[in-house]
Symmetry: none
């Protein structure tokens, strides 16, 4: 069984602060959010954040720790499954990815905000490590498919970038996504089941045509 981080025990209040912080940071960015904002929104004392987490930066690390392993379990299971073909595994990963990411859009947004900066190196590296680990299964499956010649000789790394990048593109901005897919900036794609199905369908079709098409 895999564990990304020590299974630290978090009190309800700590969890509450973390969940509030995820929303706040997603809206205003880490630097754009103040501890006072956060304390007010979470209805706790200003000193609580430092008291519980040590510092604002450590709170961010706690957030990552709290949500980081959100992928692993199912991915490893898919990877280890010997009764699935490679393309079935790809499909399963698509289902899983879309599911998990749409379930936590704010956290996803925070991670990407931090990834886009080059500050806070330790944190940056930590986030990169999460990404690398979470994509390694996908990487391995694509490579295996190619080796087995059930997949075309595609570029494995960039194929991964396509799969993840398509989802990220949609998650970039709720209003932008709303405009593009529904011509309505107030449309919320992240909670819309029809949109989720549409996204999954597109990704599967895309991957099928790309990976399976005519393997000469």
């Amino acid at each position: 069984m895999t564990k990304d981080f020590p299974e630290q025990v978090l009190s309800d209040k700590q969890q509450h602060i973390i969940l509030t912080a995820i929303e706040l940071f997603a809206e205003k960015g880490f630097d754009g959010s103040s501890i006072r904002d956060l304390a007010a929104r979470a209805d706790v004392n200003v000193a609580m954040v430092n008291y519980y987490f040590g510092s604002k930066e450590k709170l961010f690390e706690a957030i990552v720790e709290y949500r980081a392993s959100f992928m692993r379990g199912k991915l490893d299971e898919i990877h280890a499954n010997t009764s699935m073909t490679e393309i079935e595994k790809i499909d399963a990963i698509i289902d899983n990815y879309v599911d998990k990411i749409l379930a936590h859009p704010s956290f996803h947004r925070i991670l990407h905000q931090e990834l886009l900066k080059r500050e806070r190196e330790a944190l940056h590296d930590g986030i990169i490590r999460i990404f690398v680990r979470n994509t390694s299964v996908l990487h391995s499956i694509i490579n295996q498919g190619i080796r087995k010649k059930v997949f075309r000789k595609v570029d494995p790394e960039l194929t991964m970038a396509t799969l993840i990048g398509t989802i990220n593109q949609v998650m970039l901005s709720k209003p932008l996504c709303g405009i593009l897919v529904n011509n309505d900036p107030n449309f919320d794609p992240y909670t819309n089941v029809a949109f989720k199905n549409r996204l999954v369908k597109h990704l599967k079709l895309l991957m099928h045509s790309y990976l399976l098409a005519d393997k000469r």
Copy 2:
């Protein structure tokens, strides 16, 4: 004839500040960068930013204005070209996109950082407008291809997301990209010609298989 930059006359010093700010904001984020940092790095007086641009926020707007039209010219040209097939236009757009975005990775990163927040609504909307404008040509070409039945009945919006999203994914983080494509966090993909060709090749192959494959 096309023009890449707005007519507004900017002094050398103003341009210098803008270029320095693009690098700084890309590294530390807008909120994470201080005017003092910027002034020191650009080797100008702290008061210059407000003197030239009015405020930190207006500097951001000036940056966007300075680089915003970085796509349009060529795109319109491709769109209007009647001697190209749809798939040739897609290829041309891929060439163009990759070219332009790899040439200005920092600006690209800044835009996405701001897009990931929901603050500064006016600016956010402005950036969204740029994205919508820059993707509208692509949208129109895909739709035309589908109407002409030279393209499969794909999901046009999500196909765009795939194209743009793949590039964005690669631009997300230099070290992440370096690790994935070269197993070396110090590898700089953005200035590497081989990588650029690899990216272009992947995208074209991807789009060809997806759009053209067996239109039954």
Copy 3:
């Protein structure tokens, strides 16, 4: 029973800041005083002013609130008193006014400084309201005296201006007052009992001759 001060609870430190600010603003004006000056003089941290009062402007409002009602109680009592004649009431008001204003020369000076500007409209209006309230009793007594024909048919508003204006004139500038009444710029009239009596005597004599003289 009357209360001179609003109910609001102010800590000792807050009161200390307010009292220091009154002196400072009286000397240098509101705009001429910096929060750093104030903090240094009051021997508190620069951040305390904003911490306690929110902003420099709100500190001003707190000052006004703290001292604004400095008149009312006694005035209402005089007004309501049915056993005094009108001229006795005027005399009592003179006693009261001179007393109160000489006790808080700095606050008095601040109010007038702000009154002389046309900025900060809300504040300006607030101060005007205080003046109007504080003079309304006087107004009403003069009018009553005229109606009862114990006073001459004077101009009630300008008679008020004379009464208040004489006191204000003396409060304008300590050195100017010192020179005029004692030929000594260092003479402090505001703490001098003899001067206070002299001022009261002059005002009473003035009002008696003006209001009572020959009512044909």
Copy 4:
């Protein structure tokens, strides 16, 4: 012949700046007005103020110099006139004062703003000197009237304070004055002839009753 200050020659532009500054300082106070505000309002270059007057403070001195002697001429004439009785002289001074002050309400307001502070000592002293000189004639006339026993044994200094203070009180704040005399904050008393006559009438009546009444 008396001269308060060297008869410096001022160009039209300098006069224009001075007149604009008087209005601006009257509205926002000296510290509340910026040279940029002034330059913009006067439609001149920012550097002009320092170029012409040396500094912001020296501009203030130039303003005082420009308007300071606004009283003297006529006052000296009244004083020296041997064919007028003392009370006639008082009446003439009232006419003159009210006239001059109502003609330049902004300058009057500036002087008092500065008088209310204790800053800029040299300037403060200069202004005090102007006040003392301008009131000396009045002082001398009252004293003479008392000596000649045509006036009562009033308090000469405070009688002056009453005369000047009544006018000042009315000049304190346009809206306050408007409310008191006309129950209308938008009423402009300073340009209203009826109000001027009312003020003069009140002052003369006041001074007559006070100075002349029953000299036992």
